[in-house]
Amino acid sequence: MGSRASLLLRQEEIEEIQRETGFSHNQITRLYSRFTSLDKSQNGALSREDLLRIPELAINPLGERVVQLFFLEGEDEQVNFRQYMRTLARFRPLDPSQKNDKEGVNSREKKLEFAFRMYDLDQDNRISRDEVLQVLRMMVGVNISEEQLGSIADRTILEADTDGDQRISFEEFCKAMERSEVEQKMSVRFLD
């Protein structure tokens, strides 16, 4: 439970995570207790299976992608608490005062980057038509025909690609998403 967890989490670690992620002391201890409850093997790190055991995540069409992005932070198929918190921190709501802060862990830039990586399956910092197609297929399953998905992917690339290389770079992605409400839609309200 919560306080047993905070016993294992040293005060210095909490402070360090606080500085790094901007979460409050209380949020950190509570998320730590969540982390340990997900950690079924109790080795201080989460595996893919640990995360995909969450039913609400398992039914999410892009659930596996989200999990994948958690593992970009970590090495060898494990995510420790620091890495876990770093990923969650991207989804902290943005204060109006830090609107132009590009460096913050939860900045508009960082949120967009997360979304970009959802599509960038091979991590080459470019989204190809094929990648759009694959992610689309994850989202719609068998409900839309391959042909139709293909034309959606074509159109998506055509609209976002400005330099004509048939792929979407991060800069192009940001441009295409300019009018989307990233700050709002990519934020989770963590309670204090």
């Binding site: 016993l7 039914i59 979304a115 409900n143 959606i152």
Partner: protein
């Protein structure tokens, strides 16, 4: 003469606790009256908890002052504590954003790259906090109840708290536990002897009457072994024949319900001690025991349930349709089996007061013996039982729909969250179908040529 006096003294010294035990606990338990001792005990406990909570608060606010983040000093202590320990980790946004858009009409739109936002956020929300996995681990308490199993490290917050905790510990383990073990032994002993005697009697209404009383008496004594304080509401709705369904938190649920009425139990045949109890139970009343491994038996079980329900002389059947223990914050999917049998369904909602001890059995963490030890060393098991008005399956209603309807009523009455998820997720992974459902939902949004 002097010898006789000594012997008499010795006897009386030994007899006094026994007599007190019998007069104060056993006999009131057996006839089902309360002397008000437990109520008083609970009141005292609440005072003590309040004191402990205040201490912890003082400690916390002092730490906040010392720490570099002193900005969140509470104006109102009580409110702050409640806030701090509120159970949810995140404030969930509207879960049904997708659905809502669709219901605006057939507003189909083109795919946008930003469509992944929705799934990202839901994914992160599920990772940070979800309603299902939480149901399989103990719920968090808003204040500390001086049990280290709910919260460690609080016992060392202040000297006074440490002393209080040690006293409580000694009281629970050295005073409550032996007494409760004795009560449990006495209750099971009486039950064994009584059922053995009853099995000789011919099967008639007289026997049923006696066995009903024996059962009530034994369960009431057994309930004292957990210092159970149960409040029964709407007793007029108690099951009369048919099937009684309740939400499931722990094996103790059975004892709680059986203190107020007699039920026929349904369950798997066990070996060892449980098996012995089962056989003893069957000697006096008709219970339904079956092997879960035999799939063929399932049909037979359903038939036996039907048979049982149609016999007016037999007791109402008690079933927990969730099929697994949930932490008493929510009600999960009801299995349709018991709703197909027919006959009247008597829903019962059970809500425990976790402040005095959490009744939830986390079977993946503790085995039965550990669990029972926890229960017997908790302060008390306090709960409310609501008997809901009987329900019938409507014309043309599917068993699943009926099960959901009953579940909804139970959740409402017990103040529990009504979840659609299957409790079996504790052991199994979610079905692929649910994901397909989500994909379908999303694809309905998209405009395709």
């Amino acid at each position: 003469m002097a010898d006789a006096f000594v012997i008499l003294t010795v006897i009386s010294v030994f007899l006094l606790p026994v007599l007190g035990f019998a007069l104060l606990i056993l006999i009131p338990a057996a006839v089902g009256v309360s002397l008000g001792i437990r109520k008083l005990y609970l009141k005292v406990l609440l005072r003590v908890f309040e004191f402990a909570t205040n201490r912890i608060q003082q400690h916390d606010s002092r730490q906040d002052l010392n720490g570099n983040r002193g900005e969140q000093l509470p104006d109102n202590n009580a409110a702050a504590l409640k806030d701090k320990n509120s159970v949810a980790l995140i404030q969930e946004e509207e879960r049904t954003t997708l659905k809502k858009v669709r219901s605006f009409g057939t507003l189909r739109r083109e795919f946008e790259l930003s469509d992944c936002y929705h799934f990202c956020r839901q994914g992160i929300e599920a990772i940070a906090d979800d309603s299902v996995t939480k149901c399989f681990s103990a719920a968090e308490l808003p204040s500390w109840n001086l049990l280290t199993r709910t919260n460690t490290h609080y016992e060392f917050v202040s000297m006074r708290l440490t002393i209080l905790w040690v006293i409580g510990f000694l009281f629970r383990y050295c005073c409550l536990l032996p007494m409760r073990l004795l009560l449990a032994t006495v209750s099971i002993g009486i039950f064994m002897v009584a059922t053995a005697t009853l099995s000789i009697l011919p099967n008639n209404s007289h026997k049923r009457h006696v066995s009903k009383y024996v059962s009530l008496m034994c369960y009431r004594i057994l309930a004292r072994a957990f210092s159970a304080v149960v409040t029964y509401h709407n007793k007029e709705n108690r099951a009369k024949g048919g099937i009684c369904v309740a939400n499931h938190t722990s094996p103790i649920d059975v004892i709680i319900l059986a203190c107020d009425a007699c039920y026929a139990m349904v369950g798997q045949v066990h070996g060892g001690f449980t098996g012995m109890i089962q056989r003893a139970m069957s000697r006096s009343e008709a219970h339904i025991w079956f092997q879960r491994s035999e799939s063929k038996d399932r049909q037979a079980v359903s038939n036996r349930l039907k048979e049982h329900v149609s016999d007016p002389d037999k007791l109402p059947i008690l079933i927990f349709p969730e099929g697994t223990c949930i932490n008493n914050t929510s009600v999960m999917m009801f299995k349709k089996g018991s709703f197909e049998v027919g006959g009247t369904i008597y829903p019962v909602a059970i809500k425990y007061d976790a402040r005095f001890g959490d009744a939830f059995w986390n079977s993946s963490k503790y085995n039965m013996i550990q669990y029972l030890l926890h229960m017997m060393t908790s302060w008390a098991i306090v709960c409310d039982v609501w008997y809901l008005p009987p329900m019938h399956r409507k014309e043309g209603e599917y068993a699943v729909e009926f099960a959901n309807r009953v579940k909804h009523e139970i959740a409402q009455k017990g103040g529990l969250v009504d979840l659609l998820w299957d409790g079996q997720l504790k052991r199994m992974t979610v079905k692929e179908d649910f994901k397909k459902e989500q994909q379908k939902e999303y694809s309905k949004l998209l405009k395709v040529e």
